[in-house]
Amino acid sequence: MTASFDIAKIRRDFPVLGEKIRGKDLVYFDNGATTQKPLTVIYALQRYYARENANIHRGVHFLSQQATFAYERARGRVGQFINARESSEVVFVRGTTEALNLVAHSYGRSQLGPDDEIIVSQLEHHSNIVPWQLLCEEKGARLRVVPISDTGEFLFDEYEKLLTERTRIVAIAHASNALGTILPVKEIAALAHQHGAVVVVDGAQGVPHLPVDVQDLDCDFYAFSGHKLFGPTGIGVLYGKQALLHAMPPYEGGGSMIEKVSFAGTTYAPPPMRFEAGTPHIAGVTGLETAIDYVNSVGKEQVAAYEADLLAYADAALADIPGLRLIGTARERVAVISFTLGDIHPHDIGTILDAEGIAVRAGHHCAQPTMQFYQVPATVRASLAFYNTRAEIDALVAALHKVKKVFGG
């Protein structure tokens, strides 16, 4: 660990981590659902509404100009963060779900026809399955699914077999939200491109844990959410390669996305504005920029190293509990641990952990096909962030022993 990674200071930056829940110190292990916010982000939202609020791209007045400048500066910052070539390749949306739906609606509807194929994996979140199913239904296209191994690895050979000249879109997660498996996005993209397909990456669980370089990955689209990256809810990003965005029709109609409107015909603004109809979440964009600054100040490499250490510690500590079964043990994982404990239902485990102040997710994690593969209705998921500690893992282990005691295990 580098000396610059000061866990005590980091924890002080997140006020909620000092809260007591049911009389116990909060142990927050539900970061896959949403992360906590550092003070800088909370203050940025407050500052925007208290002193800077104005609409963008409209007024000639001072505050509007300032807001427009800040909004476009944030776009640039996001572009740098994921190493986009141009800031105009960054489209602001509500979140990952909207980003994926945007690609399905705009790119998918304009490019797909009957008997075309879309490839997804067994590891996908529902938001990277359902938009493609809707598209397939509408276009008479087919959805193909890359299976996974028992440990939760993406089966690359099976993927290779599914690729044909009919494949138009390959839509995959950067990292599985239910199991943590990291997918080989760069290799997946290279092979898809050989077959003329575009690659859409659900980066919701990638960006918070991994350094992301969209040029190196060479993906065509990359989607992520601000609130899973220590930023506000309601703001997210769709990265798209310039040429693809330019060729795509609008997604929603309204103000800001037009060039010229008349009843004889309307022409549309170039990207990214073409895809940002109406007043966007300006405060959210400010908050997201601040969150990115925060993550950069901690250091993405440091985050990855610290989380890898914490994950290894957690895996070992949990595996020692008799009856505990880790679900998903891929070699390359982000800091997500899914498990079951004997025949105790995950919801009962979640409730008992909650009484100990420990927040986990219990359920299907919006990834029912993954659960079906493991033939479990649900798992308990502890999803970690760089502000979590070994002491918190110890608290989880102690609480799981209590769970077993309650159920007479």
Partner: protein, 150 residues
């Protein structure tokens, strides 16, 4: 931990481990599925209604301790009841688990079912406790669509 002990009382743990009236009912003339889409709990209720009485009742499926124990205790309570009595009990049960935590519990009406009063401290678990009841009510009223807690 006091609230937790209230929630996971011995009788609930026992009915979770050894559910009564568990399995299909060969002579059933009504069947109803119950599904909680948020957490994936899924069960079926089988009823044999004859001579204006619930002659027999059973359930199967998968779910958490609260939903399983609730289904188990419910089947025991509804056996032999008239359909209108069953619906009335449903309403009393529903009222109890959604009441304020310190509201009095009608032990006489609810009998063993009163152990689910602890659910009131855990609003996220109310749907677990009522899933079987929703399904049973739909079966009694012969609602053709699957019962859902949503």
């Amino acid at each position: 931990m006091t609230e937790l002990r209230e929630l996971y009382q011995q009788i609930i743990l026992d009915h979770n481990k050894n559910p009564r009236n568990f399995g299909k009912l060969p002579e059933a003339n009504r069947m109803q599925e119950g599904h909680n889409p948020l957490c994936g709990d899924h069960l079926q209720i089988y009823l044999h209604v004859a001579d204006e009485r619930i002659a027999d009742i059973s359930f199967d499926g998968s779910g958490c301790a609260i939903s399983k124990a609730s289904a188990s205790l419910m089947t025991a309570a509804l056996k032999g009841k008239r359909p209108d009595e069953a619906v009335e009990l449903f309403e009393q049960f529903q009222q109890m688990v959604t009441a304020e935590p310190d509201a009095p519990v009608d032990h006489q009406a609810l009998g063993k079912m009163a152990v689910f009063a602890g659910v009131r401290e855990f609003p996220m678990r109310v749907k677990c406790a009522t899933l079987a009841w929703h399904a049973a009510k739909a079966a009694i009223e012969q609602d053709p669509s699957p019962a859902s807690t949503e």
